[in-house]
Amino acid sequence: MALDVLIVDDSAAIRKILQRVLKNTDLSLGTIHEASDGKEAMATLAGNDVQLILSDINMPNMDGLELLAAVRQDSKHSKVPVVMISTEGGQEKVMKALELGASGYIRKPFTPDQIKEKLVGIV
């Protein structure tokens, strides 16, 4: 089954990098959606089904942790794996993300292999 993915990051550069990394994995990909903040991500999720979300934390309007909490409350996407990808590497932030239901946490900067290895365990 093709995997539809939502990439959420306020940096267009990071969204492009993650798209490229995803396309270089063995995953059978469907549509890759993009959003530049949590609010835009929730609007995308309202109209689309996805099977994986990759999200930054520090974003305007609605940050990644707020998005994560909202996704876990969303009846359609509450079980979708959400992987946080962020420069925030402090233990407190990581624990908070995991408590809110993050499926994984990757610290920026990252190598493509780190993303791939994390996704193999999750998807």
Binding site: A13, N58, T87, G90, Q91, K108, F110
Partner: protein, 181 residues
């Protein structure tokens, strides 16, 4: 997690964190070589510049700024490596890549400092480009000015941090001025 004041972190440690964050960003995200080119401390004085400057602030128990500056040539090189697309002139994508460089480098330093000085909130990068301009940054403490060498090009990283009790947020907002020369 302790909440030591920012001045409990030595200049040498801050420089080491800046170098480490820059090296890991260049290695992991760009696959470009970079080496430290030395650092010095500088008071808040106007600095003339022509190129690309990316600025990001943070606040919490301490407040401060990080500023990443490069020539247009290096900025294009960085964007080309990051996005695996050739850029021979500055476009919105190049500016976005430089904004992300500030986020990656200063964001990593911020995260490393949090274990010692408490939680810090990172802002959103601002990127300035085009023409000759002058920047001036306020604050009583000296700025760390670190040079990182990437081939023939130089990336300059300026970093300032002070305990929140010493510099109020409102003063910091007006402390960074940029004007065309």
């Amino acid at each position: 997690m302790s909440n030591q004041p920012a001045n409990a972190v030595s200049t040498e440690k801050l420089v080491a964190l800046l170098i480490g964050a820059t090296e890991s960003t260049f290695t992991m995200m760009l696959d470009l070589p970079v080496v430290p080119g030395g650092y010095h401390l500088e008071p808040a004085i106007p600095v003339n510049f022509s190129g690309i400057v990316s600025i990001i602030s943070f606040e919490g128990s301490s407040i401060g700024y990080g500023r990443i500056a490069s020539s247009e040539k290096l900025a294009c090189q960085i964007a080309s490596a990051m996005l695996m697309t050739p850029f021979d002139s500055v476009t919105d994508e190049v500016l976005d890549a430089m904004g992300e460089m500030a986020n990656l480098i200063i964001g990593n330093v911020k995260s490393s400092l949090e274990d010692e000085i408490g939680p810090l909130l990172l802002g959103i990068p601002t990127v300035i480009s085009g023409g000759k301009y002058r920047t001036w940054s306020g604050g009583a403490s000296d700025w760390i000015v670190l040079k990182m060498l990437c081939g023939d090009e130089e990336l300059e990283i300026r970093f300032f941090i002070a305990p929140a009790t010493k510099v109020s947020s409102s003063r910091l907002e007006g402390a960074l001025k940029t004007e065309l020369v």
